[in-house]
């Protein structure tokens, strides 16, 4: 599903964020990317999402080389990828329902269908009763569940999460991870970047460890 071939990434004027990374995430896999801060965890997710371009090497997502992908093609790929960030990335002026609907509106679905599917996505994360609230009126855990609903509403084949529990306490973190495990059971490929060892142990899934931009385990 996701393949990196000798990928290096250097942000302008800084030390390399990734060094010669080669990895493969098979379809339906649940993978943790871990390591200390600055190890390159977020960079791997950004490369999969096409937000950053590899300086060297090739990145393949769902069999397509995205290294030079742009425009409409990239937009089409992103519709197949859900993402969840540590800072939720919700729009404070829009309601919970409107935030979740955004992912469907860009696909040009009819408004009724958008509302129906957004409602279903919110129900799946237990927030259908908060649909008319503004995100800032919700707790951190609830906001992250809204972000998960937005990531899931387009039925993605890949779900990416960058420190999804970074702002949450242990109880809420477990709740979020339970959501991810449920999604994984439905066949979605999931990649989670985190430095939280407890979370990885709780889920009992595969991991790769990064240090200074290089994969150190499994070697």
């Amino acid at each position: 599903m996701i393949q990196f071939f000798h990928v290096s990434m250097v942000y302008s004027g800084s030390t390399p964020a990734l060094r010669d990374v080669t990895l493969e995430v098979p379809k339906g896999e649940f993978l943790f990317v871990t390591g200390p801060s600055g190890a390159g965890k977020s960079t791997i997710l950004k490369l999969i999402l096409g937000v950053e371009r590899a300086t060297q090497g090739q990145v393949l997502v769902n069999g397509r080389n995205i290294t030079r992908m742009a425009g409409r093609e990239m937009a089409g790929l992103r519709r197949q990828i859900g993402f969840v960030f540590q800072d939720f990335k919700l729009l404070p002026r829009k309601t919970v329902m409107e935030n979740v609907s955004l992912a469907l509106q860009v696909q040009g679905l009819p408004p009724k269908k958008v509302l129906h599917r957004a409602y279903q996505a919110l129900r799946s994360v237990g927030l259908s009763d908060k649909r008319d609230e503004k995100p800032l009126r919700l707790s951190g855990g609830e906001q992250q569940r809204v972000a998960i609903a937005r990531a899931l509403v387009g039925s993605p084949i890949i779900l990416l999460a960058d420190e999804p529990t970074g702002n949450l306490d242990w109880g809420l973190s477990r709740e979020i991870m339970d959501q991810f495990l449920k999604i994984h059971e439905l066949g979605t490929t999931i990649v989670v970047a985190t430095h939280n060892e407890g979370l990885i142990e709780y889920c009992g899934k595969q991991r790769i460890v990064l240090e200074r931009g290089a994969v150190v385990a499994p070697s």
């Binding site: 937009a75 729009l91 992912a103 040009g108 009819p110």
Partner: protein
């Protein structure tokens, strides 16, 4: 693009205008007043041009004859001039006729002519041109041709002062173009600055929309619509305001204008000029949007 994408794009544009209505209103007013100056200039120029054309069309050529021209010679001149394609009619005015006409024109002051020992006015030919030739260039050309004829002492057509008036209209037209270009540049800067502010205000939304798979068209078209609303709306405002000014001018200064121009009433902008103004607003909106796209892309994406 499917129908619903278009629907969301229009809705996004509408929501953005509603969300930042004060900024949009100020921009609309700024664009409206910039284009109003342009419209007023156009209005003044249109009316001055009409006056110039009117005065030009009323001009006729008077060819004063030499004292020694015989009857046959005069008839020959009449025939020659009357045969030119620009000429509608040629009429002879004898010194006695001309003196009589002058007395009539002087009215009560005609007594000043009574003490003259002899009639000082020479015989003349009044040359009237056909309608298509009633412009300064044709008049000047026919006058020159008359002057070159044997038996013609002097030719007059009031060309010097009307030539100056035409020159004034030409200068005003160029001045208007320069002023207009500056105003339009200012308008583009105002609209594109508002749109760029809009880009920054919606930076997070744009980022999220990109991440969930929005195409560049989906992201940018709402801004293009906003630019068009400002451009066309501003042009509409300028037309309405200039119409108001025109009515005010007609009401307050109509008579003075008629005395000056010898023309029944001042005219408003033609429908072609109004359409051109609206089209100008449209172009301004589009140019401003693309300018703000590039400014935003350079600094933020």
């Amino acid at each position: 693009m499917n129908f619903y994408k278009g629907y969301y794009i229009v809705r996004n544009a509408r929501e953005n205008i509603r969300g930042h209505w004060a900024t949009h209103l100020v921009t609309l007013a700024a664009v409206g007043f910039s284009l109003l100056l342009f419209a007023v200039f156009l209005l003044v120029l249109t009316n001055l041009q009409l006056v110039a054309n009117r005065w030009g069309s009323e001009l006729q050529i008077t060819a004063y004859l030499d004292g020694g021209v015989s009857e046959d010679g005069r008839q020959g001149l009449e025939k020659t001039i009357g045969g030119w394609q620009e000429v509608e009619s040629v009429s002879f005015a004898s010194p006695a006729d001309a003196l009589e006409a002058l007395k009539k024109a002087l009215g009560e002051a005609a007594h000043v002519l009574e003490g003259l020992p002899e009639n000082p006015i020479p015989a003349s030919l009044e040359v009237r041109l056909r309608k298509p030739a009633r412009n300064l260039d044709s008049i000047r050309e026919v006058a020159d041709r008359c002057q070159s004829l044997k038996g013609v002492a002097q030719v007059e057509y009031g060309g010097a002062w009307i030539g100056r008036f035409f020159a004034l209209v030409r200068v005003l037209r160029w001045l208007g173009l320069c002023l207009g270009a500056l105003l339009l540049l200012g308008t583009v800067i105002v609209i594109s600055s508002t749109l760029t502010l809009g880009f920054y205000a919606r930076r997070d939304e744009i980022e999220i929309l990109r991440l969930v798979g929005a195409t560049e068209g989906f992201l940018r078209l709402p801004f293009l619509l906003e630019g068009l609303v400002q451009g066309i709306g501003g042009a509409g405002v300028s037309v309405v305001l200039s119409w108001g000014l025109y009515l005010f001018f007609r009401f307050r200064l109509g008579e003075s204008w008629t005395q000056f121009a010898g023309w029944t009433k001042p005219v408003f902008l033609s429908s072609v000029s109004i359409l051109a103004l609206l089209l100008l607003g449209t172009v301004l909106g589009i140019v401003s949007t693309f300018l703000s796209f590039s400014r935003f892309s350079r600094s933020a994406v």
